[in-house]
């Protein structure tokens, strides 16, 4: 068991995380599937906003000299992409991702229980398949713990500026589109 303080902080973060996911409507099948059908953009709006706010804050703390380490996951192009594709198929059929699926149990979703049991099954199957996947897939396009600014030589602030500009323009356009759809003109 990890030390009690670590566990307490983890529990606290989980509590806030689950709370926010429910308030954001992300513990709902229709929100997730609605995003993939381009009908409900809640998921994209939430994720992009979180990336911009979270990313700018963390990179700013580092730039200001704070002792904040990054936690970059390894790039293995084939593994990341094939894994992402399988994940997307599963997520669209389940209507939840792992975090929102577990949180959905507290929001009253019954079928999410089957999803969570399936997730445990999927982890068990992957553990058996791991030697093969590692030998045949994970070495392809393996670049280690790389970031976009690190591998392109372009400052992170340009990435955030572009992301922010795209979000402001994109979400404004989306809002006028949503308004028009809500008030259909008489034929």
């Amino acid at each position: 068991m990890a030390d009690p303080k670590t566990l307490f902080f983890g529990a606290l973060v989980g509590l806030v995380f689950g709370f926010l996911l429910q308030k954001g409507g992300l513990t709902r099948f229709r929100t997730i599937v609605g995003q993939f059908l381009f009908k409900d953009f809640t998921m994209l709006k939430t994720m992009i906003t979180a990336m911009i706010v979270g990313g700018i804050g963390i990179y700013a703390m580092r730039a200001g000299g704070a002792d904040v380490a990054l936690h970059i996951k390894s790039t293995a192009v084939l593994g990341n992409v094939v894994g992402g594709l399988l994940f997307g198929v599963g997520m669209a059929l389940l209507g939840y991702c792992p975090g929102t699926g577990v949180a959905a149990l507290g929001d009253g979703s019954r079928h999410a229980w089957a999803g969570v049991l399936g997730m445990l099954g999927g982890a068990a199957i992957y553990a058996e398949a791991y030697p093969w996947v590692k030998a045949n897939l994970l070495g392809i396009g393996a670049y280690g713990k790389v970031t976009l600014p690190g591998s392109t030589g372009v400052t992170e602030w340009l990435y955030f500026a572009v992301l922010l500009a795209a979000a402001v323009i994109g979400f404004r356009a989306l809002r006028s589109f949503e308004r028009r759809r809500q008030q259909p003109t008489a034929p």
Partner: protein, 183 residues
């Protein structure tokens, strides 16, 4: 009306608060938000109770649970986080009086019928496929999508792009235009 009694918050507010939550975990706990590794630890511990030798000999389980000589704690930060996700969602739902009882989602019922067994079987299979993909990619929507995305990690953006493409293709194949127009 209290903000906590509101059933639904703006996605921009929720997104910004998730960003701030990431500041806190990075700066004070030296952690990034994630969830799917916990599935490996949970099932590894369950399997270990039945077949300890099998788990000890599995390279993926030992990667996260350690070896007999050098065990790693399975009940750690992210495990506690995942356990509390439903509690946080439950509190939010109760305060907002927005809790649902959903065995078969409306959109699913319209397309595939009211059978609970059918829905639950597909949910089980979809959950399994999803975690298999997450572990192959090295993370899920929180680890790769949120944490990886905000750190501008190449892996996170590759994963998120692939998941959106496959998710959209799957949803359109399953529900089509009728699904998109569903109330």
């Amino acid at each position: 009306m209290s903000i906590f009694a509101k059933a639904r918050w703006s996605p921009y507010v929720v997104g910004a608060l998730l960003g701030v939550l990431s500041w806190v975990t990075f700066a004070t706990m030296d952690k990034a938000l994630g969830t799917s590794t916990t599935m490996v630890r949970a099932v590894g511990v369950a399997e270990r109770a039945v077949a300890p030798e099998h788990v000890a000999g599995n390279a993926y389980f030992t990667k996260y649970l350690g070896t007999e000589d050098k065990p790693k704690p399975w009940f750690e930060w992210q495990f506690a986080l995942v356990l509390m996700l439903p509690v946080g969602a439950f509190i939010a739902a109760k305060l907002g009086k927005s809790q649902i009882r959903e065995s078969v989602p409306d959109l699913w019922r319209e397309k595939f019928g009211p059978s609970k067994a059918k829905r639950w079987a597909v949910a089980f299979g979809a959950g399994a496929l999803m975690i298999f993909g997450a572990r192959m990619a090295g993370g899920c929507t929180s680890g790769h999508g949120l944490s990886g995305g905000l750190q501008l990690a190449v892996s996170g953006w590759l994963f998120t792009g692939a998941l959106f493409a496959a998710g959209a293709a799957t949803a359109w194949a399953a529900y089509g235009r009728k699904g998109a127009n569903h109330g």
